[in-house]
Each structure stands twice: as structure tokens, then as C-alpha cells.
Amino acid sequence: MMSQLGTYLLLFGLAVSGYGLLAAAVGAKTGRSALVESARRCAFGLFATVAAATATMLVALLTNDFAIRYVADNSAVETPAFFKALALWGADDGSLLLWNLILAGYIAAVALRFRRDRPPTFPYALSVLFAVQVFYLILINGPARPFASLANPPADGRGPEPLLQNHPLMAVHPPFLYLGFIGFTVPFAFGVAALLAGQGSDQWVSVIRRWTLVVWCFLTVGLLLGALWSYSVLGWGGYWAWDPVENVALLPWLSATAFLHSVMLQERRGMARLWNIALVIGAFALMTLGTFLTRANVVSSVHAFAQTPVGPAYLAFLALVLLGGFGLVAWRLPELRTPASLTSAISREGAFVANNVLLLAATAIILLGTTFPLVVEAISGQQVTVGGPYFRSSVTPVFLLILLLAGTAPLLPWRATNASRALRRLRVPAAAAALVMIATAWAGVHQVAAVAGFGLATLVFVTSGQEILTGLSIARHGTRGGVVRALARGRRRHAGLVVHMGLALVAAGIIASSSLAQQDQVTLKTGQSTVFAGQVLRYQGLRADRQPQRIVLTTTVAVTNPGAGAAGTLDPRMNLYPASAAPIGSPSIHRGIVWDLYASVISLQDNGGSATFRFYHNPGVNWLWFGGLVMALGGAAAAWPGRRRRHSGDDQGPGAMRQRTAVAAGAR
């Protein structure tokens, strides 16, 4: 019953989005606003339909409806209700439901946002949005069918993938990542719409900028949560493994970051128009490529369980996006060429160009490393893998240069040919950076990249902080009102600087954890202890708990600090699930401001009489999480709708003037 309901709802959704596509496209072409309006209203019906289909699956999961194959494959009677609900996005077909729901949500949000004042490109954008939704709904009605039923329903299901029912983070990581991924559809749609409509003006750009910022925040949080999950669940002591699936999630983030910087060139100086559209289309194409590589099981064969027939459909869609998007860019090339050129390399404009070059270089390096095995296999038939060392050694210098830029560029004035003022304002940050570099080298850090990295992170942090403070004090002199008022004055600039401060923290965390971490593997008998990273670790024994869906083996390790006495216990676990022969470990982590103590149990011998542990001493990991949060909050502050939202092109005007005066005053 549920199976039929879900199937019909999805079919109906496809029909609705098909109508929306037609109505919006015809309305855009003929200029009949009634058609566009009906397409706009369609968006809400579509959202309701897809939401109902998703709710149907949720009910089926919660009520153990094993007649639906997806439920039998991804849930079991004994699975806790919370993880039953999470099974909704635990596997391919179900996650496509969530994907469609989020896309329909974005379309509804666009329809709501532009209910009254609309840019002229709106009808085109709406038809592109519906077209993308049509593709994903075809996918879920044809090759991937989450509501497919089983002839002989089993009495019990397989249960979710053990790794996915081991930690509540799975509840938030995929939705945020999807909000980030799918969100790129909106900037893409408005970019393509601008090309289709042949808009000469720059009106589209502020619409796209704000949506991209929102999407960027979601993707930042999604990536962070993924790293946090990897760190807290997988037990290998790290958070980023340069796995293809991680890499392809980073690619659209990098190109969106590039866009958020180069878009300022267009807003301020009317430069880089075509470049910006190409970046927006590129981000969406990279997102589609990533989905294709992951879901068609092209790059990671071990992740594959059931071979899904969605691969060719994704590839066709990717071809369409690339041909349509970049074909349109090529078509408009003669009109969108911008005459403005750089007056000086040492200027804000020059810095933005350098920023784009570096971010795209990082994108290219990661894309190359991720797809290289595919290319080699296609040509020579050999299977190769590209591992962490390639990525670390090639990306590190690029990221260090990006830090250098982030630490200096906010000081540079627009258009300027004279950088002496900027140099003067660089004195404090540069001194702080030099101090930190000397201190870290003196403290025994000998890797050049790590010392330079700490210095550059300091440079970014101090420069950004100094600029915010200067901006604040000037704004407070000029007007009455509190700090909040003053902050809100130059909101965009301040928010950007806050993101940079977050970036500095993230960078420091990554450098600390990747260059200063220690690890050790030891086998301890009950009662035996070892000394690791200045802590005494004593294995106290094993406890077995039988839970309905699994058996949990918990070890207890007492931690004593020789100076300060008992410092608590670590309890790394091993979980045995019926659906998996290999046990799934759960690490135990003492999180601290400066460093984490992290323990995983690798194996147990003699019924727990002895156990093999891997201990990690990871500095800076929490700076990474905190810094990432700061970045996302800064992005959100920049995206927050301002008072002057009506004249979207206008939020450059007086505010920007004021800012420029502030900057000039600050340079005194």
C-alpha cells in the first residue's frame, strides 16, 4: 500500500514539475506573465508532493514495512526508531528522495522570495530550476526506485549499514551537505537565465551572490560535519582522507569561494562578468560530476554494494549541463567581454584575480588527482590509486599562498598604484606573524611548511581582527549607537573579515593536527599500563552489553596525568552487528582546547584479557571545528538580508562609499 502511494506521488511530482518547466519556458519566451505566475505557484504544489512522498517512506521505515525493498535493505525490527528515520538517507535510492525534497524546497523558496519584485531573468531561471527537478524526478521514477516492492516480504530486514547507525551525526551531515550541493542549482539557474535572456545589465549578479553565500554556508557546515563524523566515528584519528567522495565535495566549495571573491570585481568595477557566470556554471557542473562519480560507483568500487543503473542517466545530465552551460557562455562571449582592465597588480582587484587563480589551481589539482585513476584505467587498463601524499604535497603550497593573500589583500585599496599605506597597516600583523614563527621554530617544530603556516594563519587572524576594530572605531566616531550598530554599518566587509578569522583558526588547526600529532599502537593486558604523550594509560578490562540490534564490547582505559592525578577514563568500543562480519569500532575522545586524547580499540584477545589499542594525541582539532563554525556564521552574517533589500543593486552605493571613507581613514 505504502509502496503504491509513494510511487504515485513521485509520478505526480514528475508531472507537476514537467508542467512547471513548460509553463515557465513558454512564459519566458512569449512574455505571458499569467503562465509564469502559474509556474511559480506550481513550485509550492511540487514541494508538497515530494514532501508527501518522503513522509510516506518515513512512515514505511518506522512501521517496518518490509514489503518495500528499500525498507528491507536498510532497516530492521530491532533498529532504534531514530536510526530507522535516518535510514531515509542511508542508501542511494532513499537519499535521492531527500535530494528531490531539498531541490523542491529551494524552488519553493525562490518562488516565495520573488513573489512580487522579480528580476527580468526570473522566468528563465524558474524554467531551468524545473528542468533540473524533472531530471532528478525521472531518475527516481525510472532507474532508481525507492518504492520498489518485494514479492515475498521478509520477516525482518537487513538493518542500516552499521557505520551509519553508530553515531547521531549521521542525522545532520547528509542534510547539510545536500543543502549545499543542491543549492548550487539556484545560482546556476540564474546564471543560465542571464545568458538566455541576454541581459546586458549586472542585475543578476547580486541575486546570485546572496544565494551562493547561503549555499556556501550550508556546504561549509556539511563538509565540517562530514569531517567531524569521520573523526568521531571511524576511529583512525583523522578527519580528512583525500577519499574521492570527500574530494568531489570540496571542489564546488572551492569554486564557489572563488566566485564569492571575484563577484566583487563585477559589483564594484563591472569587471569579470563572463568569468563570474562561468564560475557559477562550473560550480554546478562540478557538483554534478561529483554526484556522478559517487553514485554511479565510478571511482570507489569498495563502497559499492548494489550496482545501480543511475550511472548513464547522470552522465547524460552532466553532458547536458556542460554543453548547455558552457555552450551558452561561448555564445555570449562577444557581448559579455568586459572592457575594464587592471590598473595595478598591487591593488584589491589584482588580489582578487590572484585569489581566483589560486583557488582554481587548488580545484584543478584535486580534480586531477581524483579523476587520474579513471583516466589511467581508461587508457591502459591498469588500476592505480592516488593517495594522500600527492594531495598534501601539491595542495599545501597553494593553500599557504591563499593564506598569504587573505592576510594582506584586505589592506589593499581599490585601483591603487601606491601600496605604502597598506604596508604601514601590515606592520602589526607581520610582527605578530614573525613572533609566532620564531616561537614555533624555537619550540621544536622543524617542518618549514608548518612554521610558515602558523605564521600565515596568525597574519590572517591579526589583519582581519585589526581591520574589524579599525572599522568599528571609525564607525562609532561617525554615528551614535552601540557596537552592534557600528558592526552592521560595514556588514559585508566585517562579515568577510570574520570568515577570514575563521579560516585562520581552521588553518592553524589543520597545520597543528597534521604536523604535530603523535600516535602509538600498544597491546595491554588487564591491569597493565603504558605512557603515551605524557599520560599514563591503564587498561582496566572489558564489558560486554547485548543490545537488541548489536553487541557492544566496551574497554575501559584509566587516564592519569603524572602531575595532576586522575584525569578520567577513555572507553573505546567495538560493536558487532549481525549484518557485518567485521566489528565496527567506536573511538573514545577526550576533547581539549589545545589537544585531544583519542583511543581506538583495534583487537581483543583472550576474551578481553588483553587488548590492542591505538592512541592518538591530536593538537588543534577543536580549533578546526570552532574556526569552521566561525566561517559559516560569518558567511551567514554576510548573506543576511539587509534593510535596503528592495534595491538589490543599490547595496553597493552609500554603504560602500562609507566603507571606502572608513578604509581611507583607517589608513591614516
Binding site: A72, L150, W331, P334, L374, A581
Partner: protein, 183 residues
Amino acid sequence: MSGRFTRRRARLLAGVGAVVTVIVVLLMTGLGRDPSVIASPLVGRAAPDFTLPQLDGPPVTLAKLHGQIVVINFWASWCAECQAEQAALDQTWRRFQDSGVVVIGVNFEDGAGAARGYVRADDVAYPVVEDAGSKTALAYGLRGVPETFVVNRSGRIVSHAIGPVGAAALSSEINSMLLASPR
């Protein structure tokens, strides 16, 4: 869409088309791979021996099947994908049992009652053994069910598939083994 079709535009569009074609062709080769057949470290090695009790019948010892081609399929009654590949395994068994091919179902992490019910409901004709304690599953490095190993006449593992197997792929693999080393 506005603007005229000029030679410059045609050249640009052709360039975009060419680049996209190269990308798509490259990615297409990746699609041709069957991700369920993996490069398992066990392939080429001697199949770990086992003696396991049948659900209804005498125990089965792998070593005693030396000289025959053995298809070892790990399954469970709670696994929907196992049900999906059931027909393919049955078909293989019926087609090849007279040419010296044995199919063995190894029941994994299951209740004996549930397993029997499944075997009866789906008319499983080939021998099914119980792997109490999952010792055999561990010896084969099982990641989950279903997984299928094909063992040749000299007792070596020749392939390892993760996920449901197809009748056609399995038959062609067995056919080529039969042709390569006829009895």
C-alpha cells in the same frame, strides 16, 4: 536567445562540444566497469576449507569437492538482495549440476527457523549449510551478504563478487572455466 550566428561563435561552440565529448567519453569508460566484482586479495589463493552442517542433511566439506567447480554464496534470510539473486543461483545449479559444478549456500548470522522458512518459500534446491559462529565467513573476509566466491577444480578462488550476482555473468564465467579445464 538573441544574437546572430557568426563564424566566431560557431568555432567557440565547436570547441566546447569537443571538450565535453572528450570528458564524457572518458567518464563512460568508468561506467563500463562492474563495481561488484572486486580485486579481492583472496582471488588466486586456496579457498579456506570448511566442514559445515547442512540445514537438512549431512555436513558438507569443501575439501571433498576437490575436482569440481564450487560456487559459494553467503546469504541470510533478512537480506533482500539475497532474495533478488536467488533465481540466478538456482538456475546455475540446475544447469550445471551434471557437469561437475556445485552451488553451496552458506547461511550467515541467521536463525535456523528463519533460514528454513526462506529455503522452503523460495524452493532453494542446492545444499545450504549453517555457519554458526561465522568462522567460515571470517575466513573468507566477508564484508556483508550477499557475497559469492567461485572456486576452481584445484580448489583456488577465481572470483569474488560483492552484492547480488546475475545468472548470465555467472553462467559465462562457469562456461569458460569448463572449457578451459574439461574433466
